[in-house]
């Protein structure tokens, strides 16, 4: 079972990398804990992330969480954040944005929500 799980996880990461390369995305840093947001702290990315947040995320996640969890206090790793936005969450209302947002745009949203404690 354990080796199966490991195998699956490797496959998953490889598929994600392929997807990002295919999309012409900026290369993420592959650390032991997974992908790390390459634009964290970048002001242009934060500004772009706020725009995307307002247009796509605010309807549920509001200023500090609401219909969806407070993303400004997220404890998800960068990789888990990216994968949750791309694939959605089974059994919850979170839709899959993989066909609507590029990984770059998700990184920008991630950079934005990690730059402040609320939307305004």
């Amino acid at each position: 079972m354990a080796s199966n799980r490991l195998h699956r996880r490797r496959g998953f990461a490889a598929a994600a990398l392929t997807l990002m390369l295919a999309a012409g995305a900026m290369l993420p840093v592959l650390a032991e804990e997974g992908m790390v947001n390459p634009v964290l702290g970048d002001q242009a990315a934060i500004d772009a992330g706020r725009k995307t947040y307002r247009q796509r995320c605010y309807i549920c996640h509001l200023s500090q969480g609401g219909r969806g969890p407070n993303l400004f206090a997220t404890t998800l790793s960068d990789e888990k954040f990216l994968m949750t936005v791309i694939n959605g969450r089974k059994g919850a209302s979170m839709p899959a944005f993989g066909l609507q947002l590029s990984p770059d745009e998700v990184w920008e949203v991630n950079a934005y929500v990690r730059s402040t404690d609320h939307y305004e």
């Binding site: 309807i59 509001l62 200023s63 609401g66 209302s93 839709p95 609507q100």
Partner: protein, 455 residues
Amino acid sequence: MLCCGPVNCGLAIQGDHVFVGTLDARLVALNIKDGSVAWEQKLEDWQKAYTSTGAPLVVGDLVVSGIGGAEYGVRGFVQAFKAATGEPVWKTFVIPGPGEPGNDTWPGDTWKTGGASTWQTGAYDAETKTLLWGTGNPGPWNSDLRKGDNKWSCSLVAMDVETGKIKWAFQYTPNDAWDYDGNNAPTLLDLTIDGKPRKVAVQSNRNGFLYVLDRKAGEFIFATPTIEGINWTTGLDPTTGRPAVTEAMRPVSGGAKVETVIPGFEGGTNWFPIAANPEKGIVYLNTNDWAMSLKAWKPEDVVYNAGQVYMGVDYQMYRHKEHTGFLKAFDVANKKWLWELPSALPMFAGVLATKGGLLFTGDQLGFFQAVDAQTGKPLWRFQTGSGINASPITYELDGVQYVAILSGLGGDPGFYFSGPKGGMLWVFAVDGKVADTTSFNPTIIETALPIYGKQ
């Protein structure tokens, strides 16, 4: 994309078919015996955020469906199909197109993405063969980007069931800026009001008012607030029902945050059906007393992109009183409120009235309860284990009367409350006994745990 959760409000049955709408905007007829697909029709393009969450309505040999998606720039419509074959019969846009009466209430091309979804099932007046279908908010929420009445958003639209032709319409909230959907279907009653026999449609609205309309021509008879402190309007015109808007409560694109607006956009009475005693002319309704803030984005930031959110505002709901939810009784013929039963949390369940003088409804605390229709006193309650966001039904089978309710957090309440998600159907018999709560009657999966020697 769905504004308000992956919900479904129900299905319809006729003959050998079960009709159900899908989140990807199809209407599907299933064969009742084996669940196979008898026919299906695309209502609209789900990638433009059209969706079907409402229950279809069967009238004669037609099955009728509305559509959702007003937060995403859809154009609302109602469509009828042959129930037997799925053949389209008519489709009526509730936002008039060019050349149709009312199109001039939309500047430029705003009618194309004006919302006015038809996400709840309408009512049917068999006597006049008329569908009475409620419509939702116009889009985007910024009312100054679509100056005009924006017909027929936030309205009740009367359509000939055979042709779909609009006979009349009544607009509850012209140029809505507050998401005051008018989708909740009206309850049809025959009453004497002010000494005159009237055939009325009674509708409890998100905008905080309970409307009484003459259903033959859509004439406004009167309206009454269902909650205290409504402040988006100073009142309704006594002849036409048109609201006098408090402009300070209307957010302006790029302007300051407006707060607190009463009621908040959830209403008033949201989707949950009201009940009536048709002989006494009394209606029983759940309504909510809460508030919101709205801040409208700059015009240049409000851009339509197919399939994306097209709201243009920041919004926030607020509780502002000890009690948010109320079950209330209103004597329509005598224009008099009779009693109210408060609840700390907002109500999101329909009401069922029985001829024997009982009301059934449920609350977010998970209690399914029976209430004395005359006094409003609770008579019995049962903890269902999750919030109740559905409508009770009652039916008789083999001489026993049953009451059934779905319990589970979903839709908008699922956004406001945490707790067990539930997802249970509870059925009670009038003379039933509550089962031992420690047993849950597990059914053995025979293939997994067969009796030894009998496999």
